[in-house]
């Protein structure tokens, strides 16, 4: 049986969806359709047949006045025609956006799951999970269910197995992944640097290294000792994670690679990152966020505040205490409002869920000092 998964979001979303694909790989030949800007994912998952939707190329020829006005249509037609030659038995649309729905109309299979456009309309949702997924994940609201739980159920797949963090207490490397795909999800660079210095002093027995993609290397080398900045591909980063004590990261692809490799991880969930939806699919993953009134903000717009409130209110001292505590196998922490610490735990009724792991102290006047601007 040949199955196609349409995954036209970002690299991190696809890596998070991997458990769904793996659940099908045992009895199917798994193909994936990804956006062409993520060609490096082909090396990361050689076990899948990866095809690319030429989104970037289409956008380029749409804006190229030396190209035929009809060329984008022709390129699109050829792309789907090539995929249809593979005669898929089933297609799962894991994307849930309009483009993917329209593409589902052009792709042929005996069964189609997820958002599908057909006969000039979107096909009504098949189950209540699909409606839930549509209303919760298309809008900026907190969710009672993890993205993967809702997505799996909405496309009639079983909820994938949840990995559990391994004991890495004997390992000697802690990795930082500093930049996310969106500046509003970033913790400030100077806060990272202070954390690096204080953690290196607090735990001289472990070495902190900064993981960097080739495009991030220059910016990071200006802030950290160059021998601690490790430039690597996603595949190389995954190898490093397999023997690391802890990954400290923003909401990035690496957080989901940590889940895949069962690596202890602490995620700074800031900006549009929502700790109730898209945290690593990993029992025991830690998440530090900041519950300022504008949090989480919208994916599609820039930070609306004069200052980057969520980032600034997440203190270095808190991050340091939590990291040192995690390394010492501590499970309860005290953090100051609006900071919030959660741990991803399996719950019988709701699946993998963020569970509060902090006794929250209210920091008097903290919100007043940083007025929210809407």
């Amino acid at each position: 049986m040949r199955v196609l998964f349409v995954s036209l979001l970002r690299a991190g979303d696809f890596i998070m969806q991997i458990p769904l694909l793996k659940s099908q790989a045992a009895n199917s030949e798994v193909h994936v359709l990804l956006n062409d800007e993520f060609s490096q994912l082909k090396d990361l998952y050689p076990e899948f047949h990866i095809h690319f939707f030429p989104r970037k190329y289409l956008q380029r020829i749409i804006n190229d006045q030396n190209s035929s006005l009809l060329k984008p249509f022709e390129v699109l037609k050829n792309t789907t025609a090539q995929l249809n030659q593979l005669n898929f038995t089933r297609i799962y649309n894991l994307t849930h956006n309009r483009i993917s729905g329209f593409l589902m109309d052009q792709l042929q299979a005996h069964e189609k799951h997820g958002l599908v456009f057909s006969n000039d309309n979107f096909v009504p949702f098949k189950n209540s999970w699909h409606s839930f997924f549509n209303s919760t994940f298309s809008e900026n609201r907190r969710s009672d269910h993890h993205y993967l739980t809702a997505l799996a159920q909405s496309v009639d797949l079983e909820i994938p197995q949840i990995n559990m963090v391994e004991d890495r207490s004997q390992e000697k490397f802690i990795y930082f992944q500093i930049f996310t795909s969106d500046s509003k999800k970033n913790w400030h660079l100077n806060q990272w640097r202070e954390l690096y210095d204080r953690l290196s002093r607090a735990r001289p027995d472990v070495q902190v290294q900064i993981l960097a993609s080739p495009s991030e290397a220059t910016a990071l080398s200006a802030h950290f000792p160059s021998d601690r900045v490790v430039v690597c591909s996603l595949s190389e980063a995954r190898e490093k994670l397999k023997s690391s004590a802890l990954l400290v990261t923003g909401d990035t692809s690496l957080a989901h690679l940590a889940a895949e490799t069962k690596t202890p991880v602490l995620v700074f969930s800031l900006g549009s990152s929502d700790f109730t939806k898209t945290m690593p699919w990993l029992q025991g993953a830690w998440v530090l966020s900041s519950e300022v009134p504008c949090s989480p903000c919208s994916h599609s717009s820039a930070c609306s505040q004069v200052q980057h409130l969520c980032s600034e209110s997440l203190k270095v001292t808190t991050a340091l205490n939590v990291i040192v505590g995690i390394l010492a196998n501590k499970y309860q922490f005290s953090v100051a409002s609006p900071e919030r610490l959660v741990r991803m735990e399996y719950q019988l009724k709701s699946g993998l869920t963020p569970v509060s792991a902090s006794l929250t102290r209210r920091e008097v006047g903290s919100i007043k000092q940083n007025p929210v601007v809407f």
């Binding site: 749409i62 030396n66 006005l69 249509f73 699109l76 309009r98 483009i99 329209f102 000039d120």
Partner: protein, 186 residues
């Protein structure tokens, strides 16, 4: 309306190469590179001495070539030399619709290449033909899709304009294909 410029073509021998000169200036050079081919049928607009065409034919012998030129002396010399190439001589923008082959060449499956190194004093004229073939001018668009309403022709037509002035059933594509492009245009 852009018109063809009056110009004088003469051929001069340089070592073993014949080079076309337009009003005393060489149109192109033997060193000029071939254009990048992405299709099995290529339309080359602007011929010059034929150096680029020659290289492309050598590199891609299976590709079908059509050449569009406005200078008769260039076409007559090359059409004898390259029997497998289809030459179209155009001397006025006014009567493009009278060339039945052009409508076929406007199809997206045919790659249009503007041979910029060989345009000479006919640059504006041949560029206009190139945009006509790529449906980037209001006139070509109206003619191709049989659109009667006026089209803003101050700039080259872009995809957004195409989607605004046509209805999905006027385009030779499925509705969902049109909607994908519409999303990308946003």
């Amino acid at each position: 309306m852009i018109k063809k410029q009056a110009s004088n073509i003469e051929w001069r021998q340089r070592s073993d190469q014949l080079i076309a000169f337009e009003d005393g200036r060489p149109l192109d050079q033997p060193e000029d590179s071939a254009l990048q081919i992405e299709s099995s049928h290529v339309v080359v607009i602007g011929l010059g001495s034929g150096f680029a065409l020659q290289k492309m034919m050598k590199a891609q012998p299976a590709v079908e070539f059509t050449v569009i030129e406005c200078r008769e002396s260039l076409v007559s010399r090359h059409s004898r030399k390259y029997e497998n190439v289809n030459f179209i001589l155009i001397d006025s923008i006014d009567n493009l619709e009278r060339h039945p082959q052009l409508k076929m060449l406007q199809a997206a499956s045919t790659q249009k290449l503007l041979n910029e190194q060989a345009l000479g004093s006919q640059k504006s004229f041949l560029q206009e033909v190139f945009w006509y073939l790529n449906l980037r001018t209001a006139r070509s668009l109206q003619n191709y899709f049989q659109i009667e309403k006026p089209v803003d022709d101050r700039w080259l037509i872009n995809a957004k304009q195409l989607l605004e002035i046509t209805t999905p059933d006027q385009l030779p594509y499925k509705l969902s294909e049109v909607l994908v492009i519409k999303e990308l245009v946003k």
